[in-house]
C-alpha cells in the first residue's frame, strides 16, 4: 500500500499557509484586547436587582465551568495539579476537561503563548460557544513573563483573546488558580442576561 503523502497535501504549501496566518495575526495584535469587564463596574454601581432567572443561570454557569484543554507549557502542570486529588478542582464542578472547545466554558491559558501558537489559540477561543471566559494563568499568560523579550513570544494572552481574570505566579500555585476561579465565579455571579451581549 504505497501512498505518498504528496498526493494528499503539499508540505510546502501547508507551511506557507501557516506562516502567512501567523504573520497576519502578529501584525494585527500589536495592542492588547480590552478587558471585557467594563460592565462589572457599572453593574455594581447600578446595583440592579439580580432576577431569579439570573440567579439560576449564574449559579449554574459558575457551578459548572468546564475548562477546555489548552496546555502549552509549565502552568499546565499546576493546572493538572489543581485538578488532581490534592486540590481537586472537580469540587467546583470542573472535573470535566473538554477536549472540544465547543462544549467548554473556560479557557485557562496554562503556559507561554508563542506567535506560532497564537492562531490556534485564537481559533480555539473562537470555537468556544458563548458564554465563555478566559483566565490568564501565570506571568507568561499575563505579560509574557520571563520570555517577554523573546522574538517568538506573545506578550500576554490578551493580545489575542479578551481575558477575564489574571492569576499571577510562575506558575501560580493551585491555590492561586483556585482563587482565580473563585474570582471568576464572583464575576459570573454579577452578570445579568439583560446586559448580556453588550
Amino acid at each position: 500500500m504505497e501512498v505518498g503523502r504528496e498526493r494528499i497535501y503539499s508540505a510546502a504549501e501547508l507551511d506557507a499557509h501557516e506562516g502567512a496566518l501567523i504573520e497576519a495575526l502578529r501584525a494585527s495584535s500589536q495592542q492588547p484586547v480590552t478587558d471585557p469587564d467594563e460592565w462589572l463596574q457599572k453593574e455594581l454601581q447600578r446595583n440592579v436587582l439580580v432576577t431569579s432567572v439570573d440567579a439560576v443561570l449564574n449559579w449554574s454557569r459558575r457551578s459548572s465551568l468546564w475548562p477546555v484543554i489548552c496546555f502549552p507549557a509549565c502552568c499546565a502542570f499546576e493546572f493538572i495539579g489543581a485538578s488532581a486529588s490534592r486540590f481537586d478542582m472537580s469540587r467546583f464542578g470542573m472535573d470535566i476537561l473538554r477536549g472540544s472547545p465547543r462544549q467548554a466554558d473556560l479557557l485557562i491559558t496554562a503556559g507561554t503563548l508563542t506567535w506560532k501558537m497564537a492562531p490556534q489559540v485564537r481559533r480555539l477561543y473562537d470555537q468556544m460557544a458563548e458564554p465563555k471566559w478566559v483566565i490568564a494563568m501565570g506571568a507568561c499568560g499575563i505579560t509574557g513573563g520571563i520570555f517577554r523579550d523573546s522574538y517568538s513570544v506573545v506578550p500576554g494572552y490578551n493580545r489575542i483573546v479578551p481575558v477575564d481574570v489574571y492569576v499571577p505566579g510562575c506558575p501560580p500555585r493551585p491555590e492561586a488558580l483556585l482563587n482565580g476561579i473563585e474570582m471568576l465565579r464572583q464575576k459570573i455571579n454579577a452578570r445579568s442576561i439583560s446586559t448580556e451581549g453588550e
Partner: protein, 367 residues
Amino acid sequence: MALKTEPFVLNIGPLHPSTHGVFRLLATLDGEVVIDIEPIIGYLHRGIEKLAEEREYQKDIPLCDRLDYVAAMSHSMAYVMAVEKLLGISVPERAEYIRVIMVELQRIASHLLAVGSIANEIGTFFTPFMYMFRERERILDLFDMVCGQRLLYNYMRFGGVSHDLPEEFIPALAKFINQMPGYIDEYDQLLAENEILLVRTKGIGVLPPELAINCSVSGPTLRASGVARDIRRCDPYSIYDRFEFDIPTRTAGDCYDRYRQRIEEMRQSLRIIRQAVEQLPQGKVNSQVPIRVRPPQGDVFVHVEAPRGELGFYLVSDGSEKPYRFHIRAPSLINLTPLREMIIGWKLADAIVIFGSIDIIMGEIDR
C-alpha cells in the same frame, strides 16, 4: 479482494489532550492505520537560547528551570555544573549530596508523570494518573519545603545550592522513601499485568537498539531497547560514583518496556536517595560565589542523565558576564527522531501510546 481505500490526513494537535503540550502530528491515515506522520514542532519555541545569551549567567537559572518544567532540578543542575566547570570552582560536599537527592527526587516525580500519562493515553480515566500525582505532590511538598516553589525551583546556584535543607526535611524525606516502594507496588498491581494494558503496549512501537543508537536516542527510551547507556554510570558526574545502583535495561524496546523501565528507574532512584541521606555530611551548602560571574574564555560541554535522557549544555564563554553561546542538547527533541519508524503501520490509538511512551516535554523540545 482488497477494498479500494483512500487515505486522509488527520491533524493531531497542537492542542490535543495527548500531545503533552503543543505538539502537532500530521498523520496520514488509511482508515485507522497510520501510514505516514510528520511531526511539526515549534509551538512553544520561546527562544530560550537567545534569551540566555542576552542575560547574565545567574539569570539563566530560572530559564533553565523552564526548559523541562517537569524536571526543573535536573536542568538547572546541568546548567550550573556547566558554569562551574567554566569557572573552575568546586562544590561543597553537602551541596553535592543535596543536589543528588533533589535530582533523584525529581527523576521520580518526572517518571511518575510519564507513567501516569502513558496510562492516560491508553485510556484509563485518570485513575493511575491521579495516584501518581498523589505521590508526585509529596515530592513537590519536599521541594516546596526546601525552596518555596512547587514546580520551578530556582534552587541550584553556582558553587552549591541556594539554601540548606530545613530541619523538617530529612524526617519527611525518610518517611517518603519508606512509603514510596509500597506505592510503586500498588501501581504495578493496578497496571503491570492488566491484560488490556498488555495488549495495548506489548510489542507495540518497537524501537530496535541499532536504530535507537543511530538516532541518538537516550534515557529510559534507549535503555528500554537494551542499551545500557546512563551518563551517571558511563561518565559519572557529581558524586554518582559513590552510590550503589543498577542501570536497569529491558530488551524488547516496546511501549510496555518503556513503561516498565521507568518504574524500575524509580526504584533505583529511591535506592540512591536512601544512600545519599545516610551519607549526607554536615557543612556549607554553597561556596560563596559572587552573584555575577565572568567565566574565562572557552567552551564546555556538560551532560547529565536527566529523567528524559542525556541532557547536555554546551556553553561558550567570551569572558563576559553573559554566555556567548548557550546550547541545550535536549533529550526529548532527539528522542523524536525515530518517531516515524516507530509509529508507521500502527493504528491511530497506538500512535498516541507510542508517542506518549517516549515521554517528551515540549518546553525542552522547542526551547
